[in-house]
Structure formats: structure tokens, C-alpha cells
């Protein structure tokens, strides 16, 4: 089939995918007190990567992001398990969480919670599973 003219899509993807990455990081950090969290942040990151795959094709994006998404799944699960088991070190029940207020330069007084580390595990797992499913379906040959 003759080449399709997708210049607008390719040019817009450069801008839009970075907006999507920023929005996913915002959603990831906004979790557990507002809408957001690791799951939605992971889905947004995966959709940004899928947008790049749709615009530029598999070979080009695999060169830009040389990540094997299958390795993200056990990494995320391991992080989630370790944060859950980390509460044993303080004599607390499994998956117990705590939070504190810290003064960060340029950002002011922020609340940091240990649930964010658990969310990081969820985030990596969701990105890994979503990209593995989509790329497996896309790479299926007749």
C-alpha cells in the first residue's frame, strides 16, 4: 500500500506525548487524597507510549525506549511486596503505612506518605502489563 501522509500526527505526537507524560506524573503524585494514584498514572504513561508507537512505528520507538516491558512486572511487584514487608522492621502489621510533613526547598511544606512507594510498584506493574499486552497483540503475525 502507498505511504500515508501522517505529517500532522507525527508532529503533534512530539508535543502531546510529553504533555501526557507530565499528566501521568501529576496523577501519580496526586494519589490517595485526590483522584489519581499508581494505576491511573501507569495507564496514562502506557497510553503516551502507545501514541508514540502509533505515530512512529514499532522499530523507531523500540530504539528510542529500549525497555523490555516484561521486566517491569516483577520489578513493580517486588517493590510493592518490599514496601509491604518493610513495616515488619518497625514492629507494625503487614502493609501498614505512615506519613509525615517535610519542608522541601522550592516546594514548601509537603506531606510525604509511604503509600507513594507502594504506588510506585503498582505504577511499574500497570505499565509493564499494559505495554506487554498491547505489543503482543500488535506483534501477532498471521
Amino acid at each position: 500500500m502507498h505511504g500515508t501522509n501522517d505529517l500532522i500526527l507525527r508532529t503533534a505526537t512530539v508535543l502531546i506525548s510529553f504533555i501526557l507524560f507530565a499528566f501521568s506524573i501529576y496523577l501519580f503524585l496526586a494519589g490517595h487524597n485526590a483522584p489519581g494514584g499508581g494505576f491511573v498514572g501507569g495507564l496514562m504513561t502506557a497510553s503516551a507510549i502507545v501514541l508514540m508507537y502509533m505515530a512512529y512505528g514499532e522499530r523507531a520507538v523500540s530504539k528510542i525506549i529500549p525497555v523490555n516491558y516484561r521486566f517491569l512486572i516483577p520489578t513493580g511487584l517486588l517493590i510493592a511486596l518490599l514496601t509491604g514487608a518493610g513495616s515488619f522492621a518497625f514492629g507494625e502489621p503487614f502493609l501498614n503505612q505512615t506519613f509525615g510533613h517535610f519542608h522541601i526547598p522550592l516546594l514548601g511544606d509537603k506531606e510525604l506518605a509511604t503509600a507513594l512507594l507502594f504506588d510506585l510498584g503498582v505504577y511499574l506493574t500497570v505499565v509493564g502489563i499494559t505495554m506487554t499486552i498491547i505489543l503482543s497483540i500488535a506483534g501477532d503475525r498471521e
Binding site: 500500500m1 505511504g3 500515508t4 500526527l9 502531546i16 501526557l20 499528566f23 496523577l27 496526586a30 485526590a34 483522584p35 489519581g36 491511573v40 496514562m44 497510553s47 502507545v50 501514541l51 508507537y53 502509533m54 512505528g57 514499532e58 522499530r59 523507531a60 498491547i134 505489543l135 500488535a138 506483534g139
Partner: protein, 101 residues
């Protein structure tokens, strides 16, 4: 007109908009299911997403909350990607190309 009247009128208008958006969603659903061609279905799905964004915005007005603003943006982004995927599938038959062009 007092401020109580204003809130009362706002609520009535919001309910009317909710009913109109719901009727539009039902009509679009019929078009998406029995649309004669695939481009009809793609446009209908796109419009369903836009109506969903309107519905979430109206519910945010009714509930007097700002927490739902992120959801509107989220639906918009997913709708954009879905529409691109559908358009590419209709035009080329493949969504993620494997070969270098």
C-alpha cells in the same frame, strides 16, 4: 433575584442539560451499533466520548466539586488516542506498523 433563586435556576438548567445529553448519548449509541459504514461508527464513538465529558462536567456542577476536572481531561486524552487508533485502522488496517517506511 436573590442568590437562592440563582442556585435554583442553575440546578434546573443543569438537570435539563443532563437529560438532553442522555438523549444524545442514546441516539449516538444507535448510530454506533447499526451505522451503515465503519467511519459512521468511528464518528459516533468520538461524539459519545465528547458527550461523556459533558456529562461528567454537569455532574461536577451538581455535586459542587473540583475533583472531577481531572476525569474530564482523562476522558479527553483516552478519546483522542482511541480515535487515532480507529482512524488508522480504517485507513491502513494496521495500528502499530512493524516495518520501517
Amino acid at each position: 433575584m436573590t442568590s437562592t433563586d440563582f442556585y435554583y435556576i442553575t440546578e434546573i438548567v443543569t438537570y435539563i442539560c443532563l437529560v438532553a445529553t442522555s438523549i444524545s448519548l442514546i441516539l449516538l449509541m444507535i448510530r454506533a451499533i447499526k451505522g451503515p459504514t465503519n467511519p459512521d461508527r468511528a464518528v459516533a464513538l468520538d461524539a459519545i466520548g465528547i458527550n461523556l465529558m459533558a456529562l461528567v462536567g454537569l455532574i461536577a456542577i451538581l455535586l459542587v466539586t473540583t475533583k472531577l476536572n481531572d476525569i474530564v481531561l482523562l476522558i479527553g486524552i483516552l478519546l483522542f488516542i482511541g480515535t487515532i487508533a480507529l482512524a488508522k485502522f480504517i485507513e491502513k488496517g494496521v495500528i502499530i506498523d512493524r516495518d520501517e517506511r
